[in-house]
Symmetry: C2
Subunit: 150 residues, 2 copies
């Protein structure tokens, strides 16, 4: 059965999406922590599936990579609304709040990197996917190094 | 700043998407449980935001409702791959595995209902959104009554 293609119209203005969702209300800090961890869990799963293809551990199925990249691109816009004031906890370092501008910049770098990954994935060129995956992965690691508890 | 519109090309063939992702490997049952719960958490959050609008508890912002419906539609296709054999646990009732055909039918009913919700949301007609939301909500409840632990 042919996979139905999901088209995500993503551009550099992806950052505007997040802006519209800044600090949506969560009833309790635990709800915010659960939400952001859930968004990262779903994102990491699809990112990891692309990684397996990039590393040659899984066959290159264009439709599946394109679908996973679309999931990653959408998920990448979601966690930030759940890092509002008073939601410290979980795996989040306190620097997210004490140096929020740096955290925001790192999150935006990642979102732009996965927009590029999604574009490469939709085009179906494996070499471009590999490059974009590497850049996106570096943007994840960069942010985790500074802002995620070990 | 204007929200960038995300377009999900969803049709009744949405079910084909899930089929392509059936039983992706998870290292451990706990990973599958964490993944499916995460997908439901993200889906429920966006569904709840639409619900607040439908109930008149939040203002009707067409772009936000459309975006949340697109998130719900995408998320609705994800959890099922994580209900594979040997992944019993969490809030899942054993009937998911012992009466899997019924569970699958309920999951497909929900996925089709949220495709309709997404169509209504993209069109921006609040009355249609209310109707589609009600049908979608009933499909959630129906499946939870039979297959989710209290």
């Amino acid at each position: 059965m042919k996979l139905h293609k999901i088209v995500l119209a993503t551009t550099a203005t992806v950052l505007a999406i997040g802006a519209g969702f800044a600090f949506a209300q969560f009833q309790k800090p635990e709800d915010a922590i659960k939400y952001r961890q859930s968004a990262f869990t779903v994102m990491a799963n699809s990112f990891g599936k692309i990684g397996a293809v990039v590393k040659g551990e899984a066959p290159f199925n264009k439709d599946e990579v394109a679908r996973n990249a679309a999931i990653v691109a959408m998920m990448s816009t979601l966690p930030w609304q759940a890092f509002g004031p008073g939601t410290e906890g979980g795996k989040a370092q306190s620097e997210i709040w004490s140096d929020n501008a740096k955290f925001k910049a790192a999150s935006e770098k990642m979102q732009l990197a996965v927009v590029d990954l999604n574009k490469a994935a939709q085009s179906g060129d494996l070499e471009n996917i590999k490059k974009a995956f590497s850049t996106a992965g570096a943007s994840c690691k960069n942010c985790h190094d500074d802002f995620k508890k070990k």
